[in-house]
Amino acid sequence: MKRTALLGATLVLLTGSALAQKNVTIKINGPGGDVDPVIVNDLINRFVKPAVAKDGINVVYEPFQDYNPQLTIALSSGNAGDLFYLQGEQAQGFIATGRILPLNGLVDTKPFVDNLVRAFTVSGKVYGIAKDFNTLTLTYNKDIFDEAKVPYPTNNETWDSLADKLRRVKKALGDGYYGACLSADFARMGAIAYANGWKQFDANGKTNLLDPKFVSAFKWYTDLVREKVAVQPSDISAGWPGECFKNGKTAIALEGGWLNSYLKDQAPNLQYGTALLPKSKATGKRGNFLYTVAWAVNARTKNKDAALKVLKALTSPQAQQYVLESGLAIPSRKALTNNTYFKRNDQAARAAKVVFDGASNGTVNLYGFGKYGPDWAQPINAALSAVMSGQSSAEAALKKAQADLNALKR
């Protein structure tokens, strides 16, 4: 009898202490690759784990190599993490699955930049907290411009004057060097069309690629390649324009903050400067994309409270400051926009400032495709590729792209 009582007491004590500890593990999914897992792991170890350890929360990061398909399967089979990356342009599709938790009333979205909150809002519900953002900048290789005796690009450049400088660089340096690597990608070329005042969707939700504002941007981009002033990355054995730039083969790159963290890692001695994207001669304005990624919570998580705590730690001011200084992206918190980091005088910090300024200068649109998803950009990318490789004229390619876009159903 006495023994049973003792056993009972021990049991009560044990369960009691277990309850107090309530150890839970929160799993986070994000993309694999070279940069992200390293930075995210570091971020988790330095800022997130210490912040939530007192609540008995443990955090693990599980990267997916082929992110979006794998996340789809994980969500469908119920194996997705409690928290995961949600890319701005993919958001609509994932929100439609109903497996993402609306955060209204759970997370205060006021401290975050409004445009970024809007990117993850569908019918008044917020499905993700933007972790950071990026815009495009004009990054130039100082040595190449010096060698070619061409002045550096400035913030007052127009697309035409920039093209001119690139032609001069190409002429001076000749074989093996190029003005730029341009990929057949709306995600870059679209910024020029926005500068010209082109609208992605008109009032009826239709896209017009035959609009002269789009056509002239399209021609600026493809003509450089046809003149051989620019090349496609694959033509010089590079995977993306940043790699051409890293190898010192191209005078400029039109990329975002990710180029800074990449160069910091891969070409620490490369001397580069960063300017705002050029203006359109016709409108006198700039255009740009706003790229963003959010953290979203799995609607079926068994540990909602813990997941929300981790979400808060992931988007905390300290965590965002760290991402900023890694050079990868710009924080999504309004308060961090007056950061002392922007006043520092090294090339990565200066570049970060330009990425930040790019978001509020000229016509800036979220990188996304409305209700269509990335399928929308396929016809445009195909047209870019066809023209850049000399298979088709710009007129014919755009006509076909417009027909393909009209056939997109959703």
Partner: protein, 371 residues
């Protein structure tokens, strides 16, 4: 009544057999039968991986048949399968016959020829992309051939002339000389080289300066004979290259079972090497050929990985195959998966494979193969 001892031991044997078969049966049942039935069911629903599937009858099938992209994928798949299966079978047979000879270093050649099969197809695809990229080796070689065109043409012409002269001279002296007699050929090649060197030195021929060949093969929208998209042609070449060795192995194994007495008899009757191949090797290898063609058909009809790796480097409509069409429907970017459509496409692909294999069994390979 008790079971007779014989019957009991029969039962026992069956049980033992089943036990040994169990792992395979289980995995077949789970990953094939069950998966196939599920896919069949989903193909009649509007399943999107997240909803409760609703029965929609044949709607997915009708939508697929009306889809332009499906028709392109079907054409590409059939072209791919026909070309690659043919090239693979003939190539593998010839390689096997060659490697069945008694030559020095046989082991080395056998391993070397087998290498492509055990190299990861991802790696091989990447190498092909590099070879055929705009500043790649293929364009470079094409440029060089253009530049050295006159030299190469002169060399070939000289070799032919010298060889013909030598062979005629030998024959006029009553000696049996074959047209491509190796000893004479060496002399012709040497004389040709000297001739070209002299022609270059005297400036009769020169190296032309030509525009570098600048074709981006993968972005090409051209079609070979107006039929085969150029990017698909690369996948064909590459797929043939990587699978020939495996097929060759089957043929090699088959060749070991062809009695050498047949060849000896044929040789005594004065049959040429080609006649031996045509009338002994090919018929004797029928059962193996049936197997090779079947495996090849199934593999090519369902080809996916090489298309996926080339991905956005080539225009989708030039490379999309049925298997890739299925994948594209499960993971359309930025919208809900169309698992219903994908399942229907997969069922169509399965039926297609079945029909084609049945047809080739019925018409291409005669009855003796089935014994």
């Amino acid at each position: 009544m008790r079971a007779s001892p014989k019957r009991r031991s029969d039962l026992q044997q069956t049980a033992t057999a089943l036990m040994f078969l169990a792992p395979l049966l289980l995995s077949l049942g789970l990953f094939f039968v069950y998966a196939f039935l599920r896919a069949l069911y989903y193909s009649f629903t509007d399943y999107d991986l997240f909803n409760t599937p609703q029965w929609v009858g044949l709607r997915s099938y009708l939508a697929i048949l009306a889809d332009d992209r499906f028709r392109i994928a079907l054409t590409n798949t059939l072209l791919f399968s026909a070309v690659v299966t043919t090239a693979q079978t003939i190539g593998a047979l010839l390689l096997a016959v060659v490697l069945n000879q008694k030559v020095r270093g046989l082991g080395f050649f056998r391993s070397a020829f087998y290498m492509p099969s055990i190299t990861s197809s991802v790696v091989i695809t990447l190498i092909f992309i590099w070879l055929f990229q705009r500043r790649g080796v293929v364009n470079y070689l094409a440029t060089q051939i253009g530049a050295y065109g006159p030299v190469i043409a002169a060399f070939i012409a000289l070799v032919v002339v010298f060889q013909a002269a030598q062979v005629l001279w030998e024959r006029s002296r009553g000696r049996p000389a074959r047209a491509l007699d190796p000893a004479l050929l060496w002399i012709s090649v040497a004389l040709g080289a000297v001739g070209v060197w002299l022609a270059l030195a005297f400036g009769w021929i020169g190296i032309r300066s030509v525009e570098p060949v600048d074709i981006s093969w993968f972005a090409s929208r051209e079609r070979l004979f107006g039929l085969i998209p150029i990017p698909l042609l690369f996948i064909m070449i590459q797929n043939t290259f990587t699978t020939i060795p495996t097929m060759m192995l089957f043929f090699l194994a088959g060749l070991q079972n062809v009695p050498s007495a047949l060849y000896e008899a044929a040789e005594l009757d004065g049959a040429s090497k080609f006649q031996q191949l045509r009338y002994i090797t090919v018929p004797m290898l029928r059962p193996v050929t049936f197997y090779v063609v079947t495996v090849s058909l199934i593999g090519t009809l369902q080809m996916f990985d090489q298309v996926r790796i080339i991905g956005s480097a080539a225009p989708l409509e030039s490379i999309i195959t049925l298997a890739y069409y299925v994948y594209n429907n499960v993971f359309p970017s930025g919208s809900l998966p169309r698992a219903g459509m994908a399942s229907a496409a997969a069922v169509i692909l399965a039926l297609l494979t079945l029909v084609i294999v049945a047809l080739q069994r019925r018409f291409l390979i005669s009855d003796e193969a089935h014994s």
